[in-house]
Symmetry: C2
Subunit: 370 residues, 2 copies
């Protein structure tokens, strides 16, 4: 088992990463802060796949955990679900000494974290992320919240977990596209902060995709360490934290232009990174060889859904509504070198437009040679 | 104008107290953090009484403040109203650079503060409390939230304001019972922390009740300083902050037992203090003369609604559901001396029961002589 410490003063916490953590959860969470019975928030899919063993392990220490099931999917990440969670919590006698376990992927983590942030003005919560994307991204950093009809994640809070257990064996039940979607975020972490992580992925991609425990533990640990480092220096996302959005400006645009239906989040980020690399080259950033290397690695993970038929106007509107758009120019992250990121606030939106119209028409063939 | 600093590290802020602050708000809030147009959350009553001059003043600096009106009264302090606030904010183009002004009493402050805590994961807000209770109590300390059908303030957050302007001239339009309700909380502040404040109230009560600006400024300043001192040492209410609940254990019980209809909050706290004094004397705390002095001051403010017909069983149930009830014994605040408070966690609930049954039957005549 590996351990990543997220340093945030009095709200610091540990992310434990390894195989079989669910079975050891009673021991790993045996702390004063968690003396009352926990409230487990999860969904039917996660319960079916991993719930039996986990609850059995939990009951060794807490005889009567409450279990609250929410719908499986992004469309349940709303205020109505939060309200149902409050109601279930009151019904089961939860009070300010209660604590929440977010047991599932990103949707469960975001919504359970928001319930924890607001139930009786805030109670502790523990993340037990069961997808690669949640383990390397959303479970660390304290961003919690829900979607409203005006957009995604527009209501929420910063509420840091008390602890995170990333059991890499849960990743074995992921659909291949889900696993790939998380891997693109791992690649992003390497791209912005660690060339050695890219080297590792290049040499061991097959082991990772085959869910070998040691390989999963390695990539989850490295990506979590990178995210924890950034979050520790910049909790509230004013500046440094922006580099975690590499690939996300255009990625979000692609997701929104396709009504969040065509791409998994990571897949849109993958296309966003490829586009940002191409656009960065037009700005004279990153040498051709490094850019081609990263594009090649991204394409090796899995085939990406095509960009066919996506309207430039829709992508542009989404980018302009994005928080990264400020007063006519666009704020975007680029790579001056592999493993290094730079935020530029002065990206000319007409230049980006021109680039995107070419890119959408011809995003480049999958390269066979670097 | 007087200034109270609430020391909370990077979230420290100032409470400005004095007459005519509304008219000077553009100047007092001219800060980098408030560069976008504000969103003013208020209700029709406050708008009618104080809105004209305030908006005029505000427009000198921010040409297009948004104004969102919510219902006037505790029954509007719910999640449905928060949702309508989000919708109005999106409609007027609010984004993460926006900031909220909570312009009104406690309900407006709690709900606007909660909207600020959760809109786009938190934006700044400024309190402009227009009732005495809000100025001396709810506007300082960062407790924000709403009621749910299971109880009051059970969903919320800790979100500190960026600034508070307590314009004492707004208190002149308060109904006498509203003013009195706030004064009982001022008396509470003196009782737990400052005998000189009690001396001042004893000698100048008439000036305060007549809303003389200098007298109001003095009592709001002293009470705010006391609350700020407690909050600065103990933001999240684990221990010290509990002393602010003097009179509240029994007070909440009386409110709940009468469905929050018979008493204003401060009136219930006034009875709660009188009861706690009587009970404290049975425990050998506080000398008779000091207790009588405090009871006399409370009764001088205004007549209190009677306790007639209140069922002991209902009060007891409410006290036991209260957060101050822990494992069979009750946690209550007492005064060993005037100006000093002490939290006792081991109050025998049967003894409290016996005392309350006698107290409800005979709460004591208004004393005419100390």
């Amino acid at each position: 088992m590996k351990n990543v410490r997220v340093e945030l003063g009095s709200r610091s916490y540990s992310v434990m990463i390894g195989p079989n953590l669910l079975a050891r959860s009673a021991k790993l969470l045996d702390r004063e802060e968690f003396s009352a019975d926990p409230v487990v928030i999860t969904n039917r899919t996660v319960m079916r796949l991993h719930g039996g063993g986990f609850l059995q392990a939990l009951r060794r220490r807490w005889p009567r955990p409450a279990v609250i099931l929410i719908g499986d999917g992004e469309r349940y990440k709303d205020l109505a679900t939060v309200r149902r969670i409050y109601d279930s919590m009151f019904r089961t006698g939860a009070d300010r000494r209660s604590w929440i376990i977010a047991f599932g992927g990103g949707v469960v983590g975001d919504i359970a974290g928001f319930a924890a942030a607001t139930f009786m003005r805030g109670i502790p919560f523990v993340g037990l992320p069961t997808t690669l994307l949640a383990q390397v991204d959303s479970s660390v950093g304290g961003k919690v919240g829900v979607n409203v009809r005006q957009g995604k994640n527009l209501v929420g809070a910063f509420h840091q977990p008390s602890s995170v257990l990333s059991d890499v064996l849960t990743l074995r039940t992921l659909a291949p596209r889900e696993l790939a979607s998380g891997l693109y975020e791992v690649i992003k972490c390497g791209a912005i902060r660690s060339e050695p992580l890219l080297d590792y992925l290049e040499s061991r991609l097959e082991q990772v995709v085959a869910c070998r425990p040691a390989a999963l533990e390695k990539v989850v640990f490295e990506a979590t360490s990178i995210k924890a480092g950034v979050v520790s220096s910049d909790e509230l996302e004013d500046d440094l934290r922006m580099i975690l959005n590499y690939g996300h400006t255009i990625g979000h645009g692609l997701e929104a232009a396709t009504d969040y239906r065509r791409f998994k989040h990571g897949e849109a980020v993958a296309w966003g990174m490829i586009a940002a690399l191409g656009f960065g080259r037009e700005l004279g950033l990153l040498d051709d060889r490094s850019a081609a290397r990263l594009v090649h690695l991204i394409h090796r993970v899995a085939p990406l859904p095509s960009l066919r038929g996506i309207s430039l106007a829709h992508v542009r509107t989404a980018i302009q509504h994005d928080k990264k758009f400020r007063r006519g120019s666009v704020r975007m992250v680029f790579l001056p070198h592999l493993g290094e990121a730079e935020v530029r606030s002065d990206v000319d939106s007409r230049h980006l437009d021109l680039f995107l119209s070419r890119f959408l028409a011809n995003p480049g063939a999958r390269p066979t040679e670097v």
